[in-house]
């Protein structure tokens, strides 16, 4: 009996889905046509490009190719927008009274009607697209096997990742766009209203990110910029709106090397975006967000009653929350675009009044709309002010208590921490006194906030990362240290903790790395001299052990006062580690610098001298290779 009931109810839901699909069939055909003009067409152009028999494809001149790309783009935009129409049409009973009695009276639960309507519209929308993508894959396989491919072209390697990105990404954009419109449909009364709210919903997340980004950028003094960018722009933004998904697709297509990279993801600083390996995780995030939109739609749909057909289902709190968000987004976006106050007021007021009139279906309540606008803007200003103040007090100007911190790390160009200015140094402090000194210098840096005249080294930076005893971390970066902060940073370098770390790091590098070690010698950096072919002969195990002993002694004996004036010393020696051979060093430059032996490293300099490293023979032996290294270094 239960089985029969369940079978009946599921068949009714399927039947309902099919009848809706029939209603949307013409849009489905349109999606198919437009999709076929999209990727398959651009693939024809791409395959033609790969063909060595270019005469056969001479008609595919550059401008024809451009037309193909343009057609593909326009058709893709049309395909996406058809999603809105299909969503609205699948839920016609929400705005068209003619359908409400007919569909609400059907023997189905509210939930099944929603799910069935949603899936039916979705199937009608995406199946033609999937079909067109199958066509494009077949086209590509057949095409590649029938054309003479240029020697240097590898269409599979080049276009399979591209196709994957386009198919998966395209589907995600479509499904998200469609779901967003279903959601807006659930609280709108008319097609027009759905269109307005759908557009607003699509723009809402991107604008919100711009706002957050802008507030943090403007007022988030010391907050780690990479975190903002990674968290908000490259991650959250890329899966929380169709525009964000398109942005990600754009990156994937514009930087194809990131998607054809099938091994390790590319280095972050190279392309901080995505590799083909990370697409699956991103797709999952997108699907989870779509799921969230779907559930929100269902909750709204369940609350909506048949008698509300054709009426806005926007209660006052929802209206004010939505308007607050839209107004804040518009205002801050314009602020980001450096627009003046008057245009901001005019634009926000116009947007508010238009939306309010649409919701109230007329201009009868024009005057109250202005009052509501004023109230909402007052709210926006208040929240903005409170947010900035709260961020200022609780985030920007917050320095943790020493007793709460397990350890602190200080990062920066080693200008302060090592004394060279070439690479980022990072030191770890667990000693309570040192942690106190760090919190004090942190507080001091904050007290100079906005006092640019007090900055000694503009365009330099240093960072502090606290790890609390409960595991939580707090990281700050400052683009310019102030004089007293700079001095304290230098002093920190000569604490026992740092000395120990320096020795450990140096020992580890010199003893354990398989890399080629290279010494550059000279009074200044510009005067670098070395016989590269002698390099291996110099770095024997005995030599390394002796150098390490001397450096250890120097480091332990050194004080911050010793460091002063080292630049005037006659010797200036850098030890570089390279990943492979000296040729690679010449070609690519050094991988990283292990240590700088300045003139105040008396023992080490003495040792180098005793080993003949600083002898006239070597110093004078300027080879071509060394010049190349110097050029690379300078560039």
């Amino acid at each position: 009996m239960t089985q029969t009931v369940s079978k009946r109810s599921s068949s009714a839901a399927v039947h309902y889905g099919f009848t809706l699909a029939k209603r949307n069939m013409k849009y489905s055909i349109l999606v198919l046509c437009m999709s076929l003009l999209g990727l398959p067409l651009s693939l024809i152009a791409a395959l033609a490009e790969c063909s060595s028999n270019s005469n056969d494809y001479s008609y595919l001149s550059e401008y024809v190719d451009e037309i193909y790309q343009l057609t593909a783009l326009i058709s893709a935009v049309i395909v996406i927008f058809l999603g809105a129409y299909i969503a609205i049409n699948s839920f016609a009973h929400l705005y068209d009274k003619r359908f409400s009695d007919m569909e609400y009276s059907l023997p189905m639960t509210t939930e099944k009607r929603y799910i069935s309507g949603y899936l039916s519209g979705l199937a009608v929308y995406i199946l033609p697209y999937i079909l067109s993508q199958i066509v494009s894959v077949i086209l590509m396989i057949v095409g590649i096997n029938t054309i003479d491919v240029k020697r240097d072209a590898d269409p599979f390697a080049e276009y399979i990742p591209y196709c994957k990105a386009m198919i998966v990404g395209g589907l995600i954009v479509m499904v998200m766009f469609y779901t967003l419109f279903v959601l807006t449909m659930c609280f709108c009364g008319t097609k027009f209203e759905s269109g307005i709210y759908g557009a607003a919903a699509n723009l809402f997340m991107p604008m919100l990110f711009v706002c957050i980004y802008q507030i943090m950028d403007k007022y988030g003094y010391g907050l780690v910029y990479d975190v903002i960018e990674d968290t908000f722009l490259n991650r959250l933004f890329s899966f929380t709106s169709p525009i964000g998904v398109l942005y990600k697709l754009y990156v994937l297509v514009m930087y194809p090397q990131t998607i054809i990279y099938v091994g390790e993801p590319p280095a972050k600083e190279q392309y901080p975006f995505f590799s083909i390996n990370s697409m699956d995780g991103w797709a999952l995030e997108c699907l989870l967000f779509i799921g969230l939109l779907f559930v929100c739609g269902l909750l709204l749909y369940r609350r909506r009653k048949a008698e509300q057909t054709g009426e806005s289902f926007i209660s006052k709190p929802i209206f004010y929350v939505a308007m607050f968000s839209i107004m804040a987004a518009v205002w801050l976006f314009m602020d980001y675009m450096r627009t003046g106050t008057a245009p901001k007021i005019i634009v926000t007021m116009a947007v508010f009044v238009i939306i309010d009139c649409v919701i109230n279906k007329g201009i009868k309540k024009l005057l109250p709309a202005f009052v509501k606008y004023a109230a909402v803007m007052a709210g926006v200003a208040a929240v903005y002010f409170v947010s900035v103040k709260a961020m200022d007090s609780f985030v920007v100007n917050s320095v943790p208590e020493v007793s709460e911190i397990a350890y602190a790390e200080v990062m920066g160009y080693d200008h302060y921490l090592v004394g060279n200015g070439e690479y980022v140094g990072e030191y770890h402090f667990e000693d309570e006194d040192n942690i106190r000194r760090i919190t004090e210098l942190h507080a001091e840096q904050l007290s100079f906030h906005d006092d640019y005249a007090a900055a000694v080294l503009p365009a330099e930076w240093f960072g502090i990362k606290y790890t609390y005893k409960n595991g939580r971390t707090m990281e700050r970066q400052y683009s310019e240290p102030y004089s007293s902060v700079y001095e304290e940073l230098t002093r920190l370098e000569y604490t026992d903790e740092v000395k120990k770390q320096k020795i450990e790091a140096l020992t580890n590098t010199l003893n354990n790395y398989d890399y080629t070690l290279v010494i550059f010698c000279g009074a200044t950096e510009e005067n670098i001299r070395l016989e590269p072919e002698n390099n291996k002969d110099i770095f024997t195990d005995e030599f390394t052990a002796g150098l390490l002993d001397c450096l250890t002694e120097d480091i332990l004996a050194m004080t911050s006062e010793d460091c002063e004036g080292y630049e005037e010393d006659s010797y200036y020696v850098n030890i570089y580690a390279n990943y492979s051979e000296i040729d690679s060093l010449i070609e690519n430059g050094p991988a990283y610098m292990c240590y700088t032996i300045t003139g105040n490293h008396k023992k080490a300099i003495g040792y180098l001298d005793s080993q003949g490293i600083l002898s006239e023979d070597i110093m004078a032996g300027v080879s071509e290779a060394a010049n190349d290294i110097a050029e690379t270094m300078n560039s």
Binding site: R8, Y16, D101, S105, P107
Partner: protein
């Protein structure tokens, strides 16, 4: 059995159904009478599960209808509007509803289509209003539900078709104990098809009784007295209407013939005749008491 207990339905500030309690037994033909805006259509939509009650309950055999698939499968609702079916052909409409109602009978459908001779493959848009209604009634009857609810069922039907549709309904009631609820302004139709009726006004049920008892409970009398009398002299709860034409008095009164006679006897009538009342007259006089009469509305 359909049961509404203290059912309330509101649309914003407007109360469409106000504390309605009503029982419709199985197998009856139930008529819903009432002025425009009385709440008849709202009541039917509540019975269909289109609307959810804001208060009280709407149940079929003790189980709520709203958002209950199984219960809704027992009901078919024929709306007063048919424009939504315009894009369907009759066959398409049949296929549409067949998917939702597993008891759909092709046999009944074919029989009914043959009876009314409607084209199956023409779009309903091309049909007249009456033909559309026939088409929907045919599909509704073919769904073989236990309850058939018709809103303004006979609207747009020509006299011949009215008879045919009435026969269809009566046959279905006899064949499979179908419970029919009809809302209509056409009291004659209700009178012919229904055995029980309820009168609604401003969201309330004024009465709900078997039609025979309704008719037996209100009488029009024609009396004459040796002396002149005013309405006030006869004023009582039972008096619905008072009219004088020369020496003849016409009164509509509630109650049995005997009771009315007892009330009039003290005035020593020289003439006392009982004139049969149509349902339409009963409706008009009942509504008049409630202040819903042409004169009253004009005065307003």
């Amino acid at each position: 059995m359909i049961e509404l207990k203290n059912t309330v339905k509101k649309f914003g500030d407007f109360t469409a159904l106000d504390d309605v309690t009503l029982t419709i037994p199985e197998g009856t033909a139930f008529g819903l009478l009432g002025s425009n805006g009385a709440g008849k259509s709202t009541l039917l939509r509540l019975l269909t599960g289109i609307y959810s009650p804001d208060g009280g309950t709407v149940e079929l055999d003790g189980i709520a209808v709203y958002n209950n698939e199984e219960q809704k499968r027992r009901v078919f609702f024929v709306n007063d509007e048919t424009v939504q079916f315009g894009s369907f052909t009759l066959k398409g409409l049949k296929d549409y509803y067949k998917g939702f109602y597993p008891n759909f009978s092709e046999e009944i459908y074919k029989k009914l289509v043959e009876t009314v001779k409607l084209p199956e493959n023409k779009k309903l848009d091309t049909f007249s209003k009456g033909m559309k209604r026939q088409a929907v009634v045919i599909v509704g009857l073919s769904c073989c539900t236990e309850y058939l609810l018709l809103d303004e069922a006979f609207d747009g039907l020509d006299p011949t078709m009215r008879i045919i549709v009435k026969h269809m309904l009566v046959d279905a009631m006899l064949d499979r104990k179908l419970t029919v609820v009809i809302s209509s302004h056409n009291l004659k139709e209700i009178n012919e098809v229904c055995d029980t009726a309820a009168l609604m006004h401003q969201g309330k049920i004024i009465f709900s009784r078997e039609l025979d008892s309704v008719k037996g409970d209100i009488h029009k009398i024609q009396v004459s007295f040796p002396e002149e009398h005013t309405r006030e002299e006869f004023q009582c709860e039972e008096l619905l209407h008072f009219e004088r034409s020369g020496s003849i008095y016409y009164m509509i009164m509630r109650g049995s013939e005997e009771d009315i006679k007892k009330k009039i006897e003290p005035f020593s009538p020289v003439l006392f005749d009982v004139i049969p009342l149509t349902l339409e007259e009963i409706f008009i006089y009942e509504m008049e008491v409630l202040g819903y009469d042409a004169n009253g509305i004009e005065k307003e």
